[in-house]
């Protein structure tokens, strides 16, 4: 179908799109398939701590003597889970708030936006840390915390896009036709606000991943002996002199995730700017 091919042109037709897609698929594969192919258990030491690469441990051992390769293969999933879960909550709340604010012609809009702006006052990580002081460091808190940090941006984008759609004639025509609110949302509003939301999605997702990784790096996320890329960077700094791979590989993988997401986001924005025009 020509429509699908054309719509995917930003992904497969540009250099950034292809490179971003390949890198992202690679890292996601490592994260999702990794736990199934790891050669050693992640909690049992298999050699001297901080040893360099060997036949038994191709990436050497970590600061407790455990196999770095196996821990790396297990370490992506928690980061992905946290990022995806918080993104889901972010969009659930952000789209709801943005739609409500954009469609309401009343003071609700101002009230919602003031409340949303409140969360933008804080440096993101600070808000997260303050929340965790009070509520603890459970994974539920982390998901809620990251969503709290990210949803204001989404709400603003959704609101702006909704405001534009709300004044369009086709919406008035649909209301005059007698379409139900639900059908209005589904057929008129949501499809037309999807593009700005998708353009913003890449940056949000990148932010979610960075927050998730940072929180784990600070030791406030997964607890040892769990394998987690962010945590591995922090805990293996002590052996950076003897086995830098224990720090380098998780760092490189995190770098690949964020860079690929940014490349894809860039490709999407560039692709749609060309077609849509200003």
């Amino acid at each position: 179908m020509p429509g699908v091919r054309a719509r995917a042109a930003w992904l497969t037709g540009t250099r950034e799109g292809i490179v971003g897609l390949i890198l992202l698929l690679f890292v996601v594969a490592v994260g999702l398939v990794g736990p199934l192919v790891a050669p050693h258990p992640i909690t049992a030491p298999i050699g001297a701590p901080g040893a360099g690469p060997s036949a038994a441990a191709p990436l050497g051992t970590d600061f407790l003597g455990r196999d770095v390769l196996s821990r790396v293969l297990h370490g992506g999933l928690p980061v992905f889970e946290l990022s995806v879960a918080s993104m889901a909550l972010t969009y659930l709340v952000g789209v709801a708030v943005g739609l409500s604010a954009g469609l309401s012609r009343s003071v609700l809009d101002a009230v919602l936006m003031r409340a949303v702006d409140l969360f933008l006052v804080f440096p993101p990580l600070l808000l997260l840390l303050v929340l965790m002081t009070g509520a603890g460091t459970g994974s539920g808190i982390l998901i809620i915390g990251i969503a709290l940090v990210l949803f204001p941006g989404v709400a603003r984008v959704v609101r702006t896009a909704t405001l534009e759609v709300a004044t369009q004639p086709y919406l008035e025509a649909a209301i005059a036709r007698g379409e139900t609110r639900f059908a209005l949302m589904r057929r008129e509003i949501l499809p037309n606000i999807s593009e700005p939301i998708l353009a913003d999605f890449g940056i949000r997702f990148s932010g979610a991943i960075i927050l998730a990784a940072s929180v784990n790096f600070l030791g406030l996320g997964s607890h040892p002996p769990a394998a987690n890329w962010g945590l591995m960077i922090a805990e293996n700094r002590v052996i950076i002199g003897t086995n830098p791979w224990a720090v380098l590989i998780p760092a490189a993988l995190l770098a690949l995730v964020t860079v690929s997401v940014n490349l894809l986001a860039d490709a999407y924005i560039k692709g749609h700017r060309r077609e849509g025009g200003r």
């Binding site: 440096p123 509520a135 940072s214 940014n262 490349l263």
Partner: protein, 367 residues
């Protein structure tokens, strides 16, 4: 963020200086106008703008402090018990109750905390109270770390601005050529990395491979980081990496747009040398949008500093915050959070002011 504040401000009116020059016969209106405008010439709209901005900022800070207070005190269960943790003897708990006034209702505790803040008293560290340290005041704990962080942030900022301006402008001027492509991809990659990932890569290169620089910045208490310059290099480079990448891209975009403008073509056609065209026309007008991105970068610095200080064990306010969070030292977290929020808001205000200063057109559009 900065832009939205500007439009919000624009919708609330500013006093019209013309009222002051009206004749006495205009009565109450003129009198009120004269009062507000201070007589003949009227108050400079910039001062009014500044006053309103500061007022908004203070209100925002108050609300933020309330949120911070609520969030840190949202401990499940008995606050004193959780804070005391393993040392939860009745003596310790009663000491906590007294020092942190835990038996009073939340609002009155907020009130007394706020009152203390205004006088510069940040309260007592919960952990210090539990361990009955001699000096349990929060201020003594965060004073030096705050200084160290400011040093780090200032050095980074001072290097950031010229570097980003240089790279951004050069990229824009050579747009489309290999140098620009290389810079574009480099800034994309650098700007995407989490700070601690970039910092880790730097450590691996400069310590593990080259053995040039230390992997941690262990500055002994009582000395200032300025005497240990080699330990400042990597943290500064880490912070610079991500922020310069971001700012350089914004500067490049701004300069590119400006170079497209008609007055630049006009200047070139008049026979002005290219460098003069650049300096006098392009750069000046590309500055305004760049101010907002530099402001964002400075704000980012205060967030990124948390992670970077932890990575390098730099004894700054970021590391103090992380340690306080991990032991749930309420009062220290509250204090640091309020300070950081205040700095964040102050940067916003300064940026707004600079933008209005640099773009004279905006000064009269603030009704």
């Amino acid at each position: 963020m900065v832009a939205s504040d500007m439009t919000a401000l624009g919708s609330s009116g500013a006093p019209n200086p013309e009222n002051a020059t009206g004749s006495v016969a205009s009565g109450a209106g003129a009198a009120a106008g004269a009062l507000l405008s201070g007589g003949r010439g009227g108050v400079h709209p910039m001062l009014v703008f500044l006053a309103r901005r500061i007022a908004t900022g203070i209100v925002t800070l108050l609300v933020a402090s309330f949120v911070i207070f609520l969030a840190t005190n949202a401990l499940p269960g008995n606050v004193a018990q959780v804070l005391a943790g393993r040392n939860a003897t009745p003596a310790v708990i009663s000491r906590l109750d007294v020092e942190l006034k835990l038996n009073e209702p939340v609002l009155s505790r907020y009130g007394s905390w706020l009152g203390g803040l205004i006088q510069g008293d940040f309260g007592k560290s919960a952990v210090a109270v539990v361990e009955s340290n001699a000096d349990s005041s929060v201020a003594s704990q965060i004073g030096t770390p705050l200084q160290n962080s400011v040093i780090l942030a200032v050095i980074t900022s001072v290097l950031l601005v010229p570097l980003a301006l240089l790279i951004g402008t050069l990229s824009a001027v050579h747009a489309g050529r290999p140098g620009d492509y290389a810079a574009s991809y480099l800034t994309l990659v650098l700007g995407a990395l989490p700070e601690f990932v970039f910092g880790t890569l730097l450590i691996v290169v400069f310590f593990s491979l080259l053995h040039w620089l230390p992997p941690v910045s262990l500055i002994p208490p009582g000395t200032t980081p300025l005497t240990h310059v080699d330990e400042l290099v990597l943290p500064v480079l880490t912070l610079l990496g991500v922020s310069t990448a971001f700012c350089a891209r914004q500067v490049r975009a701004g300069v590119l747009t400006t170079l497209d403008q008609e007055y630049v073509t006009m200047a070139r056609l008049s026979g002005l040398r290219e460098t003069r065209v650049l300096m006098r026309y392009a750069l000046r007008n590309a500055v305004a949008p760049s101010i907002q991105s530099f402001a964002q970068a400075f704000q980012y610095l205060f967030g990124g500093i948390i992670v970077v200080e932890t990575l390098f064990a730099y004894p700054g306010i970021g590391q103090a915050l992380v340690q306080a969070v991990s032991v749930r030292d309420l009062t220290v977290v509250q204090a640091i959070a309020v300070i950081l929020a205040a700095i964040y808001i102050a940067i916003n205000i300064a940026a707004d002011l600079l933008v209005v200063f640099a773009v004279p057109r905006l000064r009269t559009s603030m009704r």
